[in-house]
């Protein structure tokens, strides 16, 4: 077992330079010589399974998103404290890529080649994760539950190792579009979009229902914090409903700019950008308290697919609170942490399904076979099968009211393309009593 400690790394680096300049030097053995593990695979030992993820811990996307891995870590610690999965603890490593795809490539190299993880769990971001899609699939690393709603993760033919998790942006866009068509049929709709697949997929979904109502689509480049020209254009186009597919920082920026322009359309933000607590805390400090907290998001429409902190009595939220209190670090339980815990919960389910001697191949096969039947924290099931690696299939439309949300309709499910939107009626079951899933191994 080789474990590069602090000194090992530092001296290793020096040695590598020396090696280059002088002659040769053995800075480590060959990898993947672990033939003796029986059915087990890279990153799996008798005591542990090592998994990794990449997240923006710094930079433009860090607010909120940087909390996701802390949630996942807390849940894994909770599972480990309760005996782990098939007797193995889950060893979770996550690294910062600053939402920069080039960094992502570097840190995933480290995770796969240096840390030798068994699987990638919850790697975050559309532009970032697409940079490592080929690499992970080429190396045969299971790439589970990407933290992004892009359609890219559902290409089982091309990327057999990759699985989506959250409802994709097209599904969300369709459901939002249908809501606007039904309830605001006369509205002129403006779109406020992040200039990448995130915005594009959302736009595609929305246009399928309200193509004729859309009067303007404005895109912002992430990193440029001056969105005044975009908001002014939406206002000029006379949009009285604005649908935003954007990250939380830009929810705050768009609200702030709209206030400056006294522009008051009905705002609809996709789930990703709408966390009231986070946006509120970003907004609260402006103008010496003249902007009051989440009140600014009062009445804003968004979507939900997980019970969150605004439903403290939901049995799932009670579980997350218990986990966070016992294993969380600093800070409160937030929706982002719940997101991370829910992903971790799904991974535990998948690992259980992969059996007592998990392999990379085995966990992928297990998800394809039973993934569609798994039930967990989300209101709707996954769409996993041999032909589909798409994640959750629906959301419900809600309105932000005070510190909570109120439902504007039932839970809806749909698929990509022309699939119709239908109501999902299965009752949402609570978590197991011990808070740990119990999935039978496949085959």
């Amino acid at each position: 077992m080789r474990r590069p400690g602090h000194r090992g790394l530092a001296t290793g680096a020096l040695a590598a330079i020396a090696a280059l300049l002088i002659s040769s030097c053995g800075a480590g053995g060959r990898p993947e010589e672990g033939e003796g593990g029986g059915a087990s695979d890279v990153g799996v030992t008798a005591e542990s399974v090592k998994v990794g993820g990449h997240f923006p811990l710094t930079g433009v996307a860090a607010p909120g998103y940087s909390e996701i891995p802390t949630g996942a870590k807390a849940y894994f610690d909770y599972v480990n404290a309760n005996g782990g999965v098939h007797g193995r603890t889950i060893d979770y490593v996550y690294r910062d890529d600053a939402y920069n795809p080039t960094n992502t490539s570097q840190v995933v190299n480290e995770l796969v080649l240096q840390d030798e993880i068994f699987a990638m769990v919850g790697g975050l971001g559309t532009p970032t994760h697409s940079a490592v899609l080929d690499f992970l699939n080429g190396e045969g690393v299971p790439d589970l539950f990407v933290s992004s709603g892009s359609l890219l993760w559902n290409q089982p033919g091309k990327n057999p190792q990759t699985f989506g998790w959250q409802p994709d942006y097209e599904v969300e866009g369709k459901i939002i579009g249908q809501y606007v068509k039904q309830h605001l049929p006369d509205a002129k709709v403006g779109l406020f979009l992040q200039d990448d697949d995130f915005g594009d997929d959302g736009e595609k979904g929305a246009r399928a229902y309200i193509g004729d109502q859309i009067v303007a689509a404005e895109r912002y480049a992430p990193g440029n914090t001056d969105v005044a020209p975009q908001i002014a254009a939406l206002q000029a186009a006379g949009a009285d409903v604005v649908i935003g597919f954007n990250v939380p920082s830009y929810t705050a920026l768009s609200q702030l700019t709209a206030m400056r322009l006294n522009y008051r359309p009905q705002w609809i933000y996709s789930n990703v950008g709408s966390d009231p607590a986070l946006v509120g805390s970003l907004l609260s400090r402006f103008s010496e308290g003249k902007v009051t907290d989440a009140a600014m998001l009062e009445g804003v429409i968004t979507t939900e697919y997980l019970p969150g902190v605004d439903a403290p009595d939901n049995p799932w939220t009670r579980l997350w609170q218990r986990v966070w209190d016992a294993h969380g670090g600093r800070g409160e339980l937030t929706n982002y942490r719940i997101y991370g815990m829910a992903q971790a919960y799904t991974f535990v389910q998948a690992l259980q399904a992969a059996g007592p001697e998990p392999t990379r191949e085995g966990i992928v096969r297990a998800l394809e076979e039973v993934g569609g039947e798994l039930r967990g924290p989300a209101f709707v099931p996954y769409r996993y099968s041999a032909d589909s690696h798409a994640g959750l299939g629906g959301v419900k439309v809600v309105r932000i009211a005070g510190d909570a949300t109120e439902d504007l309709g039932p839970v809806l499910v749909t698929g990509n393309g022309d699939t119709e939107i239908t109501e999902y009626t299965e009752q949402h079951a609570g978590p197991p009593a011990n808070g740990i899933p119990n999935v039978e191994p496949v085959s």
């Binding site: 602090h6 020096l14 280059l20 040769s24 990898p31 080039t102 080429g138 992430p222």
Partner: protein, 349 residues
């Protein structure tokens, strides 16, 4: 002893450099074969920094022109490579060559503008270039993939190469290792060409221009043309570096070519010693191997992961200032000074 050595080294410059490159190749094979895939991937990263830094050191060190825009030139090379490799029909060496040519052409344009500027003006203009060019990729998102960029099909080792490799080393050829080979072979070729160029007529002329513009102009040299040529050579290197980067990172995206990249390259050449190719290699090695070491020191000292990650750039910045204040010749300058002192002492006793 030195006389013996001198006799063993061939007289011709080209031969001598060639011999150095062959020796380098042997070292590269030995190092890549004995290190882990992770180290291999680090060496692959180092190779593209080194290619770009070698080109930059010719421009800044020999010709006296600063460029904060080499990141943008690398972007040109990377996107060219990504576009050509997309179809799967263009072999990667051809794509790399094309990247170098296209970037050199861009270098003609940028160089022509840059030749009329000096010092702070040139720095500011190339800084604007570095900040501005990535915007093109977002504007032409249909072709260039916008914010998320173009993913690149990294070349897989062809059968004969893998076979030859197995025959020689009895080990299988991983993806990281193959990319490291591509990067380092490119680097050795670039170093060979640059070393010859620097030792030859153009090297002398460039140095003359740097040291005394007026005198060089009076001596009948066409400064504009010389400056542009230096820029083109340097741009071609940046283009190649971009091509290697695209294949190693498997992506050409705007976020890969921020101002940080350009400043890192500058750090590498300044710390290594302006105008010195070995210095550029040393500087690039620092760029790759220093951050993990510094980051570990930081976490060891109780910093959070995020704080520790920022420790490396902090060290770069401080080192850049300190080097300029105390040892403007960089590491190579220091070594040369020590070497000379050694000889002088040896002579006097």
């Amino acid at each position: 002893m030195r006389a013996v050595l001198r006799r063993l080294v061939p007289r011709s410059l080209l031969l001598r450099n060639l011999l150095g490159v062959v020796a380098g190749l042997v070292v590269v094979v030995l190092v890549l074969e004995t290190t882990s895939p992770f180290r291999n991937s680090q060496f692959a990263t180092m190779s593209y920094y080194a290619i770009a830094a070698a080109g930059l050191t010719v421009l800044t060190g020999l010709n006296g022109q600063i460029s904060l825009g080499h990141g943008a030139l690398m972007a040109v090379g990377a996107y060219t490579t990504a576009l050509l490799l997309q179809g799967g029909s263009v072999p990667f060496p051809l794509a790399m060559l094309a990247a170098a040519v296209v970037t050199a052409l861009v270098g003609v344009v940028v160089g022509a503008a840059a030749a009329r500027l000096h010092g702070p003006y040139l720095a500011g203009a190339t800084l604007a270039l570095a900040v501005g060019v990535p915007g093109l990729a977002i504007y032409f998102d249909g072709l260039l993939g916008g914010e998320q960029g173009l993913s690149v099909r990294s070349p897989r080792p062809p059968g004969w190469f893998a076979d030859a490799h197995y025959f020689l080393t009895a080990g299988e050829l991983g993806g990281a290792k193959y990319l490291a080979y591509i990067g380092w072979i490119t680097l050795l070729v670039v170093v060979l060409l640059l070393a010859n160029l620097m030792a030859g007529r153009y090297g002398r002329v460039w140095r003359a221009v740097r040291d005394d513009e007026v005198a060089a102009e009076l001596a009948g040299m066409r400064l504009g043309g010389l400056r542009i040529l230096a820029f083109v050579v340097s741009a071609a290197c940046a283009g190649l570096a971009g091509a290697v980067l695209a294949m190693v990172v498997r992506l050409a995206a705007p976020s890969g070519f921020t101002i940080v990249l350009s400043l890192s390259l500058l750090t590498a050449v300044v710390v290594g010693g302006l105008g010195s190719i070995p210095g550029a290699l040393l500087g690039s090695a620092l760029l790759v191997f220093l951050p993990p070491a510094v980051t570990n020191l930081g976490t060891g000292a109780g910093l959070t992961g995020v704080q520790a990650a920022q420790l490396a750039p902090f060290v770069y910045g401080v080192v850049l200032v300190v080097v300029m204040l105390l040892a403007p010749g960089g590491v190579m300058g220091l070594l040369r000074r020590l070497w000379r002192r050694g000889i002088n002492q040896g002579g006097s006793t």
